[in-house]
């Protein structure tokens, strides 16, 4: 799936606009998964000390994010795509968001996960729609879509985990999740372009 996805990105018969779109997709997804990786890194670090029984659950999600992150790193290198210019900013912001929400407590951390995964899941769906509409039905593009939909399913699983773990009990719930969602949308806007 990874090999085929790299082939898709490097496909020489693509129109310049199509290649450009794929570059945007890989750049923003790489930045997003880096963010997710660092958010869970921050949460895991805090919960290991404040709420050890929650740490394994976070660790499980974190491991999946590390896999997503590594995958997009490889596609970015092999696909000859520049990473987002704001990478250092994403790192600091995500680590801060992860540690900050975890310090607020379990509910806030879960509300953070809920917000982030809602936006990311929706974003992956938008990409999948465009990838199936505007790209050929050849093996490599089928596999690229498969890779993205697999990751999307993981994100939706994280979303369910967050809701099961009292994400909605965070006070003031709406304010926190909406703020984080808007932050994510802003980051997507910037990472796609720069």
């Amino acid at each position: 799936m990874l090999r085929q996805s790299i082939k898709a990105v490097n496909n020489k018969s693509l129109k310049p606009a199509q290649r450009k779109y794929l570059e945007k997709v890989i750049r923003v997804d790489q930045a997003g998964e880096l963010g997710a990786d660092y958010i869970y890194m921050g949460q895991h670090f805090v919960f290991k000390q404040t709420l050890p029984k929650l740490a394994p659950l976070i660790r499980h999600m974190w491991d999946q994010e590390i896999h997503h992150h590594n995958t997009f790193d490889t596609i970015q290198t092999e696909g000859r795509i520049r990473p987002s210019v704001f990478t250092p900013v994403w790192k600091i912001a995500a680590l801060g968001l992860g540690m900050g929400t975890a310090l607020l407590g379990k509910e806030a951390a879960m509300a953070c996960t809920e917000a982030v995964e809602t936006v990311i899941g929706g974003h992956y769906n938008d990409q999948l729609r465009r990838l199936s509409k505007e790209f050929p039905e050849t093996e490599e593009f089928v596999q690229l879509r498969k890779l993205i939909s697999e990751f999307r399913d993981d994100e939706l699983e994280h979303l369910e985990t967050a809701i099961e773990n009292d994400a909605k009990k965070a006070v003031p719930y709406m304010l926190l999740t909406e703020a984080i969602k808007n932050g994510c949308r802003g980051a997507i806007f910037l990472a796609e372009r720069f």
Binding site: K12, Q30, L34, G42, F45, V46, Q49, D73, Q76, T77, R80, R82, P83, V85, T87, P88, K91, I92, L95, G96, M99, G100, L103
Partner: protein, 230 residues
């Protein structure tokens, strides 16, 4: 990426068409004519420099034929640079570290300039002229991007930019040093280049440890803040 302004329009068009000549149309000779002229131009390069008229003449065409290249000499230079960048993929690398591979590739690329003789200086001044600078920078970026890729660079963050930016500066500086270098086998150019590369890797190592330090200290700082506010 550089935007096409009207002033650079002609350069952009020829570049775009060069790119498509390179991929498609390898059999139809009439479509291939510009490429044929450029290829011949490269063959005649050591004797005639960047001028395209000798190439058209030797193909039995009138001097007028060279006018399909609106930027004349610079079009041949761009073609030359693209070819040189593409050639790097066949360099047999001996080093096991990315830094070592970068050094080998930069040396290989610099030494390829040796055949240009007196025309290297003219190339460097064309590349630096304001009219062509955006395209020169694009070629330079393609070169250093290829070098880092071949060397196995796995930069996913700011290092992706800093590595390309610094190598571009080192390469450009070494190349202009080369125009004034009369030492045998460009010994002085290579050692000039090595000094810059060494300084850069020392700097990068220091910078990397700073960002690692920052990551762990950010975690530690939060921890301290938390214990203080409890």
């Amino acid at each position: 990426m550089i935007r096409a302004s009207p002033r650079f329009f002609t350069v952009r068009t020829v570049q775009a068409s060069l790119r498509s000549y390179a991929t498609a149309h390898t059999s139809k000779s009439e479509v291939d004519l510009p490429r044929q002229i450029l290829e011949r131009g490269l063959q005649l390069l050591p004797e005639h420099g960047w001028d395209l008229a000798p190439a058209t003449r030797s193909l039995g065409l009138s001097d007028q034929a060279a006018s399909i290249f609106p930027n004349g000499k610079f079009d041949l230079l761009q073609f030359y640079l693209q070819k040189q960048t593409a050639k790097l993929a066949s360099v047999q690398l001996k080093s096991s570290t990315p830094d070592g591979c970068v050094r080998e590739l930069v040396h290989a690329r610099l030494l390829a300039n040796a055949e240009l003789g007196p025309y290297l200086g003219e190339a460097v001044s064309m590349l630096m002229s304001p009219k062509y600078l955006p395209y020169s920078l694009e070629q330079l970026h393609n070169l250093v991007d290829e070098i880092w890729f071949l060397a196995g660079d796995k930069g996913h963050d700011a290092t992706w930019y800093t590595r390309r930016g610094s190598l571009a500066m080192i390469y450009a500086a070494s190349e202009s040093f080369m125009t004034r270098d009369n030492s045998p086998n460009f010994k002085h150019t290579l050692s000039f280049c090595d000094r810059q590369l060494n300084a850069w890797s020392r700097f990068e190592a220091a910078e990397e440890s700073v960002s690692e330090w920052f990551k762990f200290n950010a975690i530690a700082a939060f921890n301290v803040a938390k214990s203080l506010t409890r």
